[in-house]
């Protein structure tokens, strides 16, 4: 194994630059290092102004998503030695505005997530005396995969429709809406329907499928979206048969 590896990292300072540019750094190539370790090495030893988000460094918080050689990755879960032999390009996640260096502006994602109402909605509350809402393992299984989302927005960086269409709600929001729609404790499916069964909701999705390919937690948002499309289509046809809605 070589001693060092070159990282080409996006630098962008809005006060100083008109547009981002790549800066080259030579970092040690340690077998146990991930891309995040290399970035922290640069920040500690080379250039303290390098700015990036990270937190848990173990793939559960969703903070450290970046483009590594053009692919959306969690930098804490991507080994450096896999890129041995050529330079590694580290850029901010695609399809989001860049605030500075590797930091993206996420308020569009936050707004769209709220549109999906990703929380338990009850029409009728159970009185406390009746105890907890119980759930069998089968009922948990129905939505568990979609609950694994860590809001890392790698799927948004992979989705060309999100990049092309400013109004499209995006994969994670739809997967999380399904997570609650399928939860046996939830009664909010109808309330979510207006935002989901909408041209900017599931109908904007053309099933490219890249969201599912890049998801680090195997949520399969594309599957969630296709399942919802079928449900929404059946609902639409049923509502034709019921006069007055």
């Amino acid at each position: 194994m070589a001693e060092t590896i070159i990282l080409e990292v996006t630098r962008y300072s809005p006060e100083r630059d008109q547009k981002p540019a790549l800066e080259r750094f030579e970092v040690p190539l340690r077998p146990e290092w991930v891309i995040l370790d290399a970035l922290n090495y640069i920040k500690d030893k080379v250039d303290g102004s390098l700015t990036f988000r990270w937190s848990c460094r173990m793939g559960v918080c969703g903070s450290c998503g970046m483009m590594v050689n053009g692919e959306p990755k969690l930098t804490c879960a991507t080994f450096l030695h896999k890129y041995e032999g050529s330079a590694v390009r580290v850029e901010p996640l695609r399809y989001f505005p860049v605030v500075r260096d590797l930091v993206t502006e996420l308020s569009d994602f936050m707004r769209k997530l709220k549109r999906a109402k990703p929380w338990l909605i009850r029409r009728t509350e159970k009185p406390l005396a009746e105890g907890e809402y119980l759930q069998t393992p089968e009922q948990l299984d129905a939505y568990k995969q979609f609950s694994m989302c860590i809001n890392c927005t790698l799927c948004y960086a992979a989705c060309p429709v999100y990049g092309l269409d400013a109004e499209f709600i995006g994969p994670a929001a739809l997967a999380l809406a399904q997570r609650y729609n399928l939860d046996s404790r939830d009664q909010g499916a109808e309330e979510r329907m207006l935002a989901l069964a909408h041209p900017d909701g599931v109908w904007g999705c053309t099933f490219v499928g890249e969201c599912t390919s890049v998801c680090p937690k195997h949520v399969d948002p594309a599957g969630a979206i296709q399942q919802y499309k079928l449900k929404a289509a059946m609902h639409w046809f049923k509502s034709l048969l019921k006069p007055g809605g």
Partner: protein, 116 residues
């Protein structure tokens, strides 16, 4: 029940047309565009084809086969134009051309199969 987007209807047509096309278009293309003209398989005679096409069930079969896949194309091509050429701002024109084309093709198929 809230009234939701009509895109559901077009997606439904797209799915039905896509499934029908997936199962039947390859064999039909293979036989009628390649095997029969090139003589790889013995071509049915003109009169036997005419007799076959005139059967009521075959007329209905061909009508459905020529109509639903067109609606599959219309929906898919509409979104390809939106995302591929980034001309979503022309969406009314695109919508009219795509589904208009599918309706026109359906009308032609209906007229041809009714009168043959």
């Amino acid at each position: 029940m809230p009234k939701t987007s009509n895109d559901a209807f077009f997606w439904g047509l797209f799915s039905a047309g896509g499934t029908l096309a997936a199962i039947l278009v390859p064999i039909h293309l293979f036989l009628f565009a390649l095997a029969f003209p090139m003589g790889w398989l013995s071509e049915p005679t003109y009169s036997s084809l005419m007799d076959t096409v005139r059967l009521p069930l075959v007329r209905v079969y061909l009508f459905v086969l020529c109509s639903l896949p067109l609606f599959h194309w219309a929906h898919r091509f509409r979104f390809t134009l939106y995302d591929g050429l980034q001309i979503k701002h022309l969406n009314e024109v695109i919508f009219a051309c795509c589904y208009g084309g599918a309706i026109a093709g359906t009308a032609v198929a209906g007229w041809l199969l009714w009168n043959i």
